[in-house]
Symmetry: C2
Subunit: 208 residues, 2 copies
DNA sequence: GCGGAAGCGGAAGTACGGTTCCACTTGTTT
DNA sequence: AAACAAGTGGAACCGTACTTCCGCTTCCGC
């Protein structure tokens, strides 16, 4: 983001797009260990050009992750239009998962499994949290899911799901994981089955 | 494993233990990016000595992971002695999770988040699968959990749980995750609540 | 306690990959 | 179409961290 979009020369803008596109593809395929000159080659530009547009590798990778968070927010907004509260929540989760199914780089990022701190996506994260929280509130208010379900649980779930995607590739496996989790999240229609009480500390976590 | 235990000199055996112990501690604290000379220093030996005992870094790290799998198997064997089938399963999962709570290196390994292939732990994995499968069978036979729960689900769960441990450190968070999942896995006492059907492909995965 | 095999230490070798730098090219403005 | 700023390419640089190598030390059987 070192360069103002408006003063940018036409070829620079084009190259920038190429770099992002190549980055997205290779980051998805190879993960964060993708090499800068690979991206450059694939984009049909020199390494110097990549560094002109993104000051560091981390900046480039962060841009990829940021886009995914934007996408999540869009998906959530679409899901919000679904009338049934539980279906809205389920759709949001399933569509989000589907969106990153082939993106192993993002999956790793989501799992927090590399040292990158992903600074610079706070805004996108906050925007996402807002919509998701609305959807969750509607579902809990309607008694469609566990009363104590919250945004952090959503994040935790997505983290678990992406780790299944990465660790056990294959469409069916992660869908199974989603199933198992949603089965636990969705309250039975009649009401009050208590969660299996195993762990004394489970409810003590700090909120938000 | 390059050296026969029996012909080993006393000091060599002692050094080997020190290296493993230092490796375990640092691998747990810093993850796989721990440096070889750090381990050497911490163990009070030279780097050359580390390489005499473990031909590569990967070999050393694999040894750490292998130990954890052995531990899992021991935990499962203990859990098997519990009379109630559901309690046995729950105990196994909870104790296993607790065992690796502080081991971020293993958590990453479990998530499959580094390129290491962890070859050389097939035996331990198979031994673990055997006990776990016994415990699961007993629980399904007793109608205590979902009929379709299997070893792969257990692996998937552990994978998800460790990713929560790593990504959202804090005792309470992962225990919450365990709760949510077990809530879904444990069938209600009365019987037949169907899983929420979201995903058409979910049941099609290949068995074992 | 001697001899030699086993083991040790750590400096140097090496590979890898992100980042810099600058001579050269291209777009844009007048 | 001239002139200059903006942009480009990629060889070279540099830091990091794994691994090797070999002269020295320690153990242990005789």
């Amino acid at each position: 983001m070192a360069i103002d979009q408006r003063t940018q020369r036409a070829d620079a803008r084009r190259n920038r797009e190429r770099i992002i596109s190549a980055g997205r593809e290779l980051f998805a395929r190879e993960g964060p260990q993708v090499q800068m000159d690979e991206i450059a080659t694939h984009a049909g530009v020199g390494i110097g050009t990549v560094y002109r547009h993104f000051p560091t590798k981390e900046a480039l990778l962060t841009a990829m992750v940021r886009d995914r968070f934007r996408e999540f927010a869009e998906i959530a907004l679409l899901a919000e239009e679904i009338a049934d509260p539980r279906a809205a929540l389920q759709s949001m989760i399933l569509r989000s998962a589907e969106a990153v199914e082939g993106d192993s780089g993002f999956q790793l990022a989501m799992m927090g499994s590399n040292e990158l701190e992903w600074e610079g996506i706070e805004e996108e994260k906050a925007a996402l949290a807002e919509v998701v929280t609305r959807i969750i509130s509607r579902a809990t208010a309607a008694g469609a899911i566990r009363k104590d379900f919250c945004f952090e649980d959503f994040a935790m779930m997505m983290c678990g799901i992406t780790s299944t995607m990465y660790y056990q590739p294959g469409n069916a496996n992660w869908r199974r994981h989603v199933d198992l989790i949603l089965y636990g999240v969705c309250a039975p229609d009649d009401g009050q089955r208590p969660a299996p009480r195993l762990s004394s500390g489970a409810r003590q976590r700090q909120s938000v």
